[in-house]
Amino acid sequence: MSTSEVTEAPVATPTRRPRQRSRGRKIATRIVVWILRVLVLVVPIYLWQLAVDQGWVGTFVASSPKAIGTRFWEWVQDGTIVQQTGYTLYEAVIGYLLGVVIGALLAVLFTTNRKLARIYLPMMGTLNAVPRLALAPLLLTWLGLGSSSKIALVTVVVLFVNFFAVYNGLKQVSAENTMWVESLGASNLDVWVHVRIPSVLRWLFSSLRVSVGLAVGAAVVAEFVGAANGLGYLISSGANLFRTADVYAGLLVVVIVVAIIDSLLRLLERSLTQWSV
């Protein structure tokens, strides 16, 4: 790895030959790695189909890659995927925004009032250890079968993550930084506008990728517990009707949706961090 390059560099004058050879080897290993990656994906799927075809496992438990693919394609064609994904993403996004705003406001409150933090921070820690998804049935009875009970659950889940992210972020805004600004004559408001809030935004952004999975997961779980729409409803109604292919296909949709959002955010992150210092 990098250590070998470091040790080689001062000893041998880097002639063209060894460098080219190592580059060729690098490309070769890359190709091998990619072939292996594809095999790791394709071979189990093939074996899965084979096991079902040969009757080694029941279709009730395993469905089959073909059946799942067929169901997925049906859903693509009749618009089910777009519609149900839309419901779930709507709940996740609104819930996320509410959770971020409430969590960030609480964090600001806790950093400005130290007594409050002393009393309630340990309690926030305890609540953070409690499985908040357990609130889903309560929220369902309270807010009904529609999207608001799902939004509320997403809010509660996202709130804590972002509260701790912002709170720790604000605490880490170095005292030195704020002192520099204050010595230049900045008021308390200036410190917030020019030092604290920018760093809060950075912390929120870094917790965004974690929050996406949490938000979508919370929305889907809330839909498991009771809903008439959404990806979670699609999956759980499949399970209730013992339509195994529906369950697998629904999970596949969740995986694809989250993977797309995650890679988009990763791209955004990369282009943004190039600017930051």
Binding site: V33, L41, R118, P137, T141, A175, A239, A259
Partner: protein, 267 residues
């Protein structure tokens, strides 16, 4: 701010003194919250059908605790959570070692692992219900798989963050693989293991409770969900209260263990 440095100094000297005024406030806050709950239901701000009332919930909790169902429920939930927790951590440790020490494994499998890591694995609950049945196995498996990914990523990062100079020095001094593992890797990874242990117990509980929501015959999650389906708000809220108490006690226990071991931390 100047106060920031001052309070940290004061904190170190008079921690006991601060604690003595924090405790009563926390207690008062809990009491006030319960009173507000009762008041909100009384005045109709919060619907009784969803929130019940503190006294009715207390009655449900009393009945649940005395008629023996509490024990079977708590046993089922704890068994699945702790079983999945242990399996997940051990499997995560093994997989992380495999990725860290067997060349090529990480290169091939890393994209899949990071894809799976971005997915909220909890959504797999209905599938486990179909495949593993309504009993404890599906909950245990759900807890195990969630904890597994948490432990795997945390420990894999831990292994990778070990200072290479330290390893080379130990090698030069004649350390074999076993000695390297016990003297360099284990102490370095210990802090990662401890963090994972604390976060993991919460993850395991989430897995089990959601598994019980989706389908189960005993457990605290089953009580909560049944309360919703039967329109018995006291049962839903009572179950949630029981869950909060159990999770808080477990978190406290693990924090105790963590602070014990954290004193050993060398690197």
């Amino acid at each position: 701010m100047a106060t920031a440095t001052m309070t940290t100094g004061a904190q170190a000297t008079s921690r006991r003194g601060i604690r003595s005024w924090v405790w009563p406030w926390q207690l008062v806050s809990v009491v006030v919250a319960i009173a507000l709950w009762a008041l909100a239901v009384q005045t109709g701000i919060a619907p009784r059908s969803a929130f019940s009332t503190p006294t009715v919930v207390a009655q449900w909790l009393g009945g649940w605790l005395t008629d023996g169902t509490a024990w079977t429920d708590i046993k089922a939930t704890l068994f699945a959570a702790l079983g999945g927790y242990v399996i997940g951590i051990v499997a995560g440790l093994l997989a992380a070692s495999l990725f860290a020490f067997v060349p090529g494994v990480a290169a091939v499998l890393e994209p899949y692992m990071s894809l799976l890591n971005s997915i909220p694995l909890i959504v797999i609950a209905p599938l486990f219900l179909l495949v593993l049945g309504i009993g404890v196995a599906s909950k245990l498996a759900l807890a195990a798989i969630i904890v597994f990914f948490l432990a795997f990523f945390s420990l894999y990062n831990g292994f990778r963050s070990v200072d290479r100079n330290l390893i080379n020095h130990a090698r030069v001094l004649g350390a074999g693989p076993i000695r390297l593992a016990t003297v360099v890797y284990l102490p370095a990874v210990l802090s990662w293991v401890l963090t994972t242990m604390r976060v993991g117990i919460g993850f395991a509980f989430i897995g089990v409770v959601v598994g019980e929501f989706v389908g189960g015959n005993q457990g605290i999650g089953v009580e909560i969900n049944l309360g919703q389906q039967l329109d018995k708000a006291d049962q839903t809220v009572g179950g949630i209260v029981a869950l909060i108490v159990i999770a808080a006690v477990l978190d406290w226990l693990i924090a105790k263990i963590e602070s014990r071991f954290a004193q050993w931390q060398v690197f």
